[in-house]
Subunit: 326 residues, 2 copies
Amino acid sequence: MRLFVGAGLLAAAWMGPVMADPLPSWQGESKEKIISFVEAVSEVGGADYVTPADRVAVFDNDGTLWAEQPVYFQLIFAVDQVAKLAAQDPSILTSDALKAAAAGDYEALAATGKEGLLEVLAASHTEVSLYQFQQDVSAWLEEARHPKTGMRYDEMTYQPMVELLRYLRDEGFQTYIVSGGGIQFMRVFAEDAYGIPPQQVIGSSITSSYEMIDGVPVIMKGAELFFNDDKAGKPVGIMHHIGKQPILAGGNSDGDFEMLEFTTTGEGARLGVYVHHTDAEREWAYDREGHIGVLNRGLDEADARGWVLIDMKEDWSRIFTGEGAE
Amino acid sequence: MRLFVGAGLLAAAWMGPVMADPLPSWQGESKEKIISFVEAVSEVGGADYVTPADRVAVFDNDGTLWAEQPVYFQLIFAVDQVAKLAAQDPSILTSDALKAAAAGDYEALAATGKEGLLEVLAASHTEVSLYQFQQDVSAWLEEARHPKTGMRYDEMTYQPMVELLRYLRDEGFQTYIVSGGGIQFMRVFAEDAYGIPPQQVIGSSITSSYEMIDGVPVIMKGAELFFNDDKAGKPVGIMHHIGKQPILAGGNSDGDFEMLEFTTTGEGARLGVYVHHTDAEREWAYDREGHIGVLNRGLDEADARGWVLIDMKEDWSRIFTGEGAE
């Protein structure tokens, strides 16, 4: 009799994790669709079974895994970095764009146009060692706070997406970031924030070179664009870094369209997921218009293509990871 | 008493794999040095312990993991591919270089110089879909045989290196290829030949693009060089794809010097390994001179830098994986 009691307890303990909700911050139809896809591709012997080596999932970062308003966080880093560099050496402020950045004046900076933005990015991202650049990003993440939420930027990751990434890995998926953001910028926080190690981060990049400085080998960041990991560049980046077609892709803007299109074309079970920014109160509401994260084609074609449209307001019971932080 | 016999058997069974020689085709000092390095970095609590996430090992391919004589195998593929394409459409033979390739005349091809070689590479590697290119490589590997050994090219991998890769992975390392060869060429065989999946293959590449062809998304290989993964390009490629400094690097030529230099600079236990081609009978003997795999600086500096110089003739009891094939 005792034996059976013991076995019962053992079974209960063993069933525990299996029964737990893998996506506690999700609700509604999009949650059901995602879970049934993941269960279908990981069910050994099932019609839609996919071998773990081919369970590749790719996600955009800005607006998909973390917020991107009022401007891309990497641009805020660039502006803050110009201010920091100017405090040490004001002579670097050789243009209106750099002066606007050093003053934290985003309106004046925007008025300088695309060229002004490129100047600010160049001053903060180029002709610096990769090591120093990543130290700068790391120091910025410690100090900087978001103007609206007051949170650390790396706590403005979406809790439901962090849960999804973990759930996918628990089910044998490899999870990748495929973002228009800087590859070496994202690697500073991707492992802690998302559990995604550096080699699974794909992004835009500038050229770099190998130099001997005082007898020590150093990777120096150059000044030319090397790869633009956006739009049609995303499938190209995927095949360059991963070398195989994913079966799940998540994005939030038309910059992710080709990645979802590429991922969901072909044989076998495939899933495209769009995060739709519908929550003006807890986050931001935007789609068809604006200067960032514009979503038109994706919104028009998601239904016909069978892609899951995540309604942030309805489908997510919690938004930011940092909301639950002590 | 019976209990103790059982425990003894259990212990013996458990010790079995631990006692087995992880590098059966190796002998001598280089074997000892490699094993003591691997044991040192994986001994929990030891002074040289390295966490598994940082146990990154990188290896050149041509001349390090498989043979590279009389010319790079990828060039043989290119020449054979031109002959195959010309058999279907002789009008493609618009130059002396292409005619020499179609005739399999390597001397005449060499006489056309670097430009001729680039023409042959272009005809076989560019303006083709990535899918078709990899199908071509796969078909070639099935059919082609090496002129000296009569083996399949993907059986001319070095058995001792295949053992080393497996041993490293068993000890928690991530194993990468970092080669001057084509990234999408190597991915066709790297998983079967070395147990290295596509996302862990880094190499040279040409540009590619995402195109819709008859409503189907296709990755097309372009015609411009995108990245040259050789010499100082190797550390750059490593930081682009992996994003962290390796602790073990293996090569065979001066094209690998910077990769070994980069890998073995810095804190903690680090190992550089050079495969020295010393076996004219079972393989080829070459180092300081020739058109391929030239090793001068590496040979001069290996001792002072503490790098292991593998003497193929003395240190390897077996050369090719294919020698043991049925």
